[in-house]
Symmetry: C2
Subunit: 342 residues, 2 copies
DNA sequence: GTGAAAGCGCTAACAC
DNA sequence: GTGTTAGCGCTTTCAC
């Protein structure tokens, strides 16, 4: 059973395919096609279950109704959750999502970007890796809508959605300071990307304001978690005076907890813990883990909204929107000042 | 700067686009095009950076090089990890992935399936929801390659990759029995799908073999986790004799742990715990949580391999492959028989 | 108000 | 060995 084409429809109804096309694209009124014919066509189409071939439409119009989503890693719970929300809303608006994981790797991303371009995706949602400015610029120059999330590129003028990274770690660090902790470390992945820089800055500012000495451990990210754990473990061994740790990312946090376990340090008696990113099970830990929760729904919602808006208003406006969203500091047991027994 | 088309290439080289097309599609030898011309064309193409328009190719050939991936929920760590592996391998083989989340909802899935069909995806990787047999059958009848994973539909003859669900819970339950537990509950989501049925069967078989009375709690899945927790909590309150629990899915497990905390039950002193699906942080819990680990990499690898194979050997063979993969029982503290103090 | 026809970029049957 | 040409299914200009 071959699929019907617009020509088949036209033939069977003894009209031209132009007319069918106009009716299909809601231009019947504009083209002053008789109410009656419109109805006849619509009924017939529904009856035989005809659907226009989107590939032919794409070839003709240059629009694919596909959005390219580039996350760091789709297996990462944060990005997976973002992907879920974006998918929902995109589908509702007639868009499909092609995704890919950049691994935050510049070279890989260039290849993926090329793939998306060849595929002619209509718009891009990207958590950009470093040093990708040139390729993004070329995208934008060609009039393709691009929205960043989670981080941005300072040299690129485009819409983006971020959380208030600096304020978040500032608040968290201030809280730890108020609890009476003095030797507070910041453990994170080494990165010069905006989100990570913001988090580091917030921590440094709080420590500076309080006149405290900062302890920073920037771990090189590695897919092999044992290396990360070892690196944090070594840092802990070298800095025995630490009484609190702020983790700059959830992967650093969980690896850090494993390192703390390995070092046999009690939380929060020996060292208090607070991690960026909340995670379902943190409340189940003993002690439960304090966290800076990102409002993932909001981030995703704003991101896809921004892109859909650009998609619907091509070239209408060039104003770039930058949205900053607040995080929530969730205080649990791990960051409480314990009464030391002496 | 307009993109070049094959016609432009042909014109600039003063040859016909057929020749260019043949060279592009590696049919130069077969068509006996001179070595020299081939080289000239290839160099020119590389020089100007020409890439064929995949949409025009699709329209012409009916192939899109897109794989449709239907998971239950892309935000679920299991499915996200699967998606990651499939993406990797698909990209390496020149395929892109369009994904969607079915929510295990039949009606929603029908719509998504329709969307994929309209989009003309080349092949399907699906974790099928219930009652979708008709639509899948129609897919297969139309010659479209379909591979299931995580579960299958007994009435549909197609390739699938699953784990050994029944054996997994059989082993786990037997382990608990050997530890000396007598009142072992199985808490899971109510579902008649093959994977869930297998897990239930394994548990029942083990209990039956040991002459023990089964305690089953089949919770209705709800995105609002508090309802799940409450339901498990109620079950715990009604069955105070329980000394061990086997959870049939990781979401049941984490919700269950929250219910146990709420009920103020100590693990494993009051009740031992073992959960289907391992999760990064289970080893960090106090006590650490025992789990049945699915080899996600293997599942994904076999699944995409099966599909790629079908894609490359269209119609060559109709033999269906069903792959069953073993799980790993990871024993930690939560399932150890505690020495009760009396 | 409706239809003929061009053309989006590509592949491949067929001609020479 | 290479070129001509028909179409894949659709949108849209232009003519009537």
């Amino acid at each position: 059973m071959k699929k019907l084409s617009i020509t088949d429809i036209a033939k069977q109804l003894n009209i031209s395919k132009t007319t069918v096309s106009f009716i299909l694209n809601n231009r019947a009124q504009e083209k002053r096609i008789s109410e009656e014919l419109v109805l006849r066509v619509q009924n017939f189409i529904k009856e035989v279950g005809y659907k226009p071939n989107p590939i032919a439409q794409s070839l003709r119009t240059g629009k694919t109704n596909i959005i390219g989503l580039m996350v760091e890693n789709i297996a990462d719970p944060f990005f997976a959750a973002i992907a879920r929300h974006i998918e929902n809303k995109a589908n509702k608006n007639g868009y499909k999502i092609i995704y890919c994981s950049t691994d935050n790797n510049t070279k890989k991303t260039k290849g993926l970007l090329q793939m998306f371009r060849e595929q002619n995706v209509d718009g891009y949602i990207i958590a950009p890796p470093p040093d990708i400015e040139q390729e993004i610029k070329s995208l934008i120059d060609d009039g393709l809508p691009v929205v960043f999330f989670d981080r941005h590129l300072p040299d690129i003028l485009t819409d983006y959605v971020e959380i208030n990274n600096e304020q978040s770690t500032l608040n968290a660090t201030n809280y730890l300071i108020k609890q009476g902790f003095k030797n507070i470390a910041f453990i994170t992945f080494s990165s010069m990307q905006t989100q990570m820089k913001g988090r580091l800055d917030g921590y440094l500012l709080a420590m500076h304001n309080a006149g405290l000495k900062p302890y920073i451990n920037q771990v090189t990210f590695d897919p092999d978690e044992t290396l990360v754990i070892q690196s944090i473990y070594d840092f802990l061994k070298k800095n025995k005076k630490l009484d609190a740790i702020l983790f700059g990312a959830v992967q650093a946090g969980t690896s850090g907890l494993k390192a703390l376990k390995k070092a046999n340090l009690q939380i929060p008696a020996d060292v208090a813990v607070l991690s960026f990113d909340d995670c379902d099970v943190f409340e189940l830990f003993s002690p439960s883990i304090s966290a800076i929760a990102q409002p993932i729904d909001k981030i995703a919602e704003h991101t896809i909204d921004l892109l859909l808006h650009k998609l619907n208003n091509a070239n209408t406006e060039t104003r770039k929107e930058n949205i900053t969203i607040d995080t929530e500091l969730i205080l649990r047991e791990s960051s409480e000042r314990a009464i030391k027994e002496n």
